[in-house]
């Protein structure tokens, strides 16, 4: 059996599964791994039906399901927490949120940070007219920062680490999540594929959970010599010595947390469904989607995680 799985360049233990071909070994499926640069490309690929499983941020997932793409969220890869932050340049004269007025802030559009930026501005009482939001991919943000072309950026590692050196963190995703709009990166699956390969899905999630567990239990001693760190560095291309520090910023929920009302559980009241819904409402305001779905819990499916927890 064949399966196509999409992934992105962020640092997480999941990369070890790619590097070590754990899924192939465990399930006997032939896996075709595809790399994407941002969540927006992932949803386009899912729309074409050429990707069965992929990782994406909550914001692109919300956009996808609101456009009627038949996918469902089955796993929370990471709670973003402090791994994404709005950093402002030293010397840009920004000390408080209101100083953002008229400043140039870079974010990759559609991504979780884009969503959080808009949310933060709203919370600060600013509109997106007040701030010059510009769409930049992580690599170009690094370059533009270097030259001093932008005043701030809401971004993740490895660029985040670089710009923190001469900038200051204004706010992180953890804070914004606690204000009621959590973001996360999750695994989504083509609905039809999931249904037809339920056993396989369970085994895959089990692998993901085990890797997270492996990391969590070695967190204290986790360093560049750890095989997971090596895998991450190899796949994502970031420096092996930075990996531990970056992983520490994320939270990787275990089975119990995944299935609780915080994330996949509780239907309409579950954290993930609520997050998708509120994100979609946000997108609708910006004309990025035409209509809201009546119920976002249909796009969240804890079944496979439940099955995996019993393996």
């Amino acid at each position: 059996k064949d399966v196509t799985i999409g992934y992105m360049g962020m640092n997480n233990p999941w990369k070890h599964a790619i590097n070590e071909k754990l899924i192939e070994k465990e399930t006997g499926y032939k896996v075709d791994w595809r790399r994407f640069y941002s969540g927006s490309k992932v949803i386009t690929a899912m729309a074409s039906g050429s990707i069965d499983i992929a990782s994406a941020g909550s914001s692109p997932i919300a956009a996808a399901v609101s456009h009627g793409i038949e996918i469902e969220l089955v796993w929370i890869l990471e709670n973003i927490a402090d791994a994404e932050a709005l950093v402002v340049r030293n010397g840009a004269g920004i000390t408080s949120p209101s100083d953002l007025k008229g400043k140039r802030i870079a974010v990759p559009f559609v991504s979780t940070t884009h969503f959080h930026t808009l949310f933060a501005l709203e919370q600060f009482g600013l509109s997106d007219e007040d701030v010059r939001l510009i769409n930049m991919q992580p690599n170009t943000i690094g370059a533009a920062w270097e030259r001093g072309d932008i005043d701030g950026a809401f971004i993740w590692d490895p660029v985040l680490g670089k710009i923190k050196k001469d900038g200051k963190v204004l706010i992180t995703s953890r804070t914004l999540s606690s204000w009621g709009k959590p973001t996360f990166d999750g695994l989504v699956v083509d609905k039809k594929f999931g249904k037809e390969n339920a056993d396989f899905m369970a085994k895959v999630l089990k692998i993901a959970a085990d890797l997270d567990q492996e990391y969590r239990s070695n967190k204290e001693s986790f360093d560049a010599t750890h095989p997971i760190a090596k895998s991450i560095s190899k796949i994502s291309g970031s420096d092996v010595n930075d990996v531990a520090g970056v992983l520490d910023l994320y939270e990787f929920p275990d089975f119990a947390t995944q299935l609780s009302c915080n994330w996949l559980g509780c239907g309409m009241e579950g954290g993930a469904a609520k997050s998708l819904k509120s994100t979609s409402e946000f997108l609708k305001k910006g004309k990025k989607i035409n209509d809201l779905m009546p119920d976002y819990s249909v796009f969240v499916n804890p079944e496979y995680a439940l099955a995996a927890s019993k393996l």
Binding site: A47, I69, F109, I134, T140, D149, K287, I289
Partner: protein
């Protein structure tokens, strides 16, 4: 205008030349000939639009013959505008049927009506922080700025490279090396060097346009007839004059083709350029919409780009017909 026949026949006969006989071409009365083509042309100017179309259809179905005033075999002569209009309508109709009939999901391809609706919406209300006209304005300034720059630099450069061994030696590897480089690959470098303001955007588009212009100016040089160059020299032309007044003129057909290719190339680079921290621009708008899968805005933007570029191309063709009517007769 009737045939003049001078009375040489007799004198020739007197000279005893065997079988010499002068034929009086019988003066055929001047008939009112029905020159259909001409009549059509005159008529067409006066009649209404519908009549015009009828005439055109007649023309299309008429048996192929050389119209008076044209050479047989001239490739592709004739007016194809009506056919273009028909084929365009046909393609749009197919699009409408496929989408409205529900054969294709809107996310794959929205219906033309949705697109038009969205077009009106973004013209009035805007999308991604600016109205359609503001986006367009930002992009047109970039594209035509870069185009003018590319012509001003590329045409002389290409001609110089074609004409001069030393210049060719110096610039050839440089241009041939940079030419195939993907703008997306050196985008980060451009940002590092030039920042994220207009200059980096215009530079990117300029670089994309420069190569085809240089290349075709250079190819144009080699297609100038050697006799034309020689004759200029032997009338005392300096090399400079030969270059400017013979070679540059003779290379015009190629240069015009290059310019048309370049402007198309410029449009295609626009989105890459506007990936870089743009706040306005039609490319930025399309990119933004495509990232959110707002397909109708994507298609609307693409339509706008396509239509504007097509109009510009028509202008270029008109200029070609005006400036180089001698193409093919050289």
């Amino acid at each position: 205008m009737t045939n003049i026949t001078k009375p040489f026949a007799t004198s020739a006969a007197e000279l005893g030349i065997s079988k010499i006989k002068e034929i009086n071409s019988k003066p055929v009365p001047e008939q009112k000939m029905v020159d259909t083509k001409e009549e059509r042309a005159t008529a067409a100017a006066a009649v209404s639009f519908l009549d015009k179309i009828e005439l055109k259809i007649k023309k299309l179905t008429a048996p192929s013959a050389v119209p008076s005033g044209e050479y047989f075999g001239t490739p592709g002569v004739g007016d194809s505008r009506l056919i273009s209009v028909c084929s365009t309508i046909f393609f749009i109709a197919i699009w409408a049927i496929a989408t409205e009939g529900g054969f294709i999901k809107p996310i794959f391809l929205p219906s033309p009506f949705d697109v038009v609706e969205r077009l009106i919406d973004i013209t009035v209300d805007g999308f991604a922080g600016a109205t359609l006209l503001e986006h367009l304005n930002a992009s047109l300034v970039r594209i035509f700025g870069a185009f003018i720059l590319a012509c001003l630099i590329g045409i002389p450069l290409g001609i110089t490279i074609g004409c001069n061994r030393v210049f060719r030696g110096i610039f050839d590897p440089l241009i041939e090396f940079y030419r195939p480089l993907p703008p997306l690959a050196y985008l980060p470098l451009i940002i590092i060097w030039l920042g994220i303001d207009e200059s980096s955007k215009v530079t990117l588009i300029f670089l994309a346009m420069l190569a085809p212009i240089v290349l075709s100016a250079r190819a144009g040089v080699t297609s100038v007839r050697i006799e034309q160059i020689q004759v200029a020299y032997s009338m005392g032309a300096s090399p400079w004059q030969v270059v400017t007044q013979v070679i540059a003129r003779g290379a015009m057909p190629d240069i015009m083709t290059g310019m048309r290719i370049a402007i198309g190339f410029g449009w295609t680079t626009l989105v890459a350029a506007e990936m870089v921290a743009a706040e306005q621009g039609i490319g930025f708008m399309v990119l933004n919409a495509s990232e959110f899968l707002v397909t109708d805005v994507v298609i609307a933007g693409i339509l706008v780009i396509g239509i504007i570029a097509y109009c510009f191309d028509l202008l270029m063709r008109y200029l070609e017909a005006k400036l180089i009517p001698w193409k093919g007769y050289n």
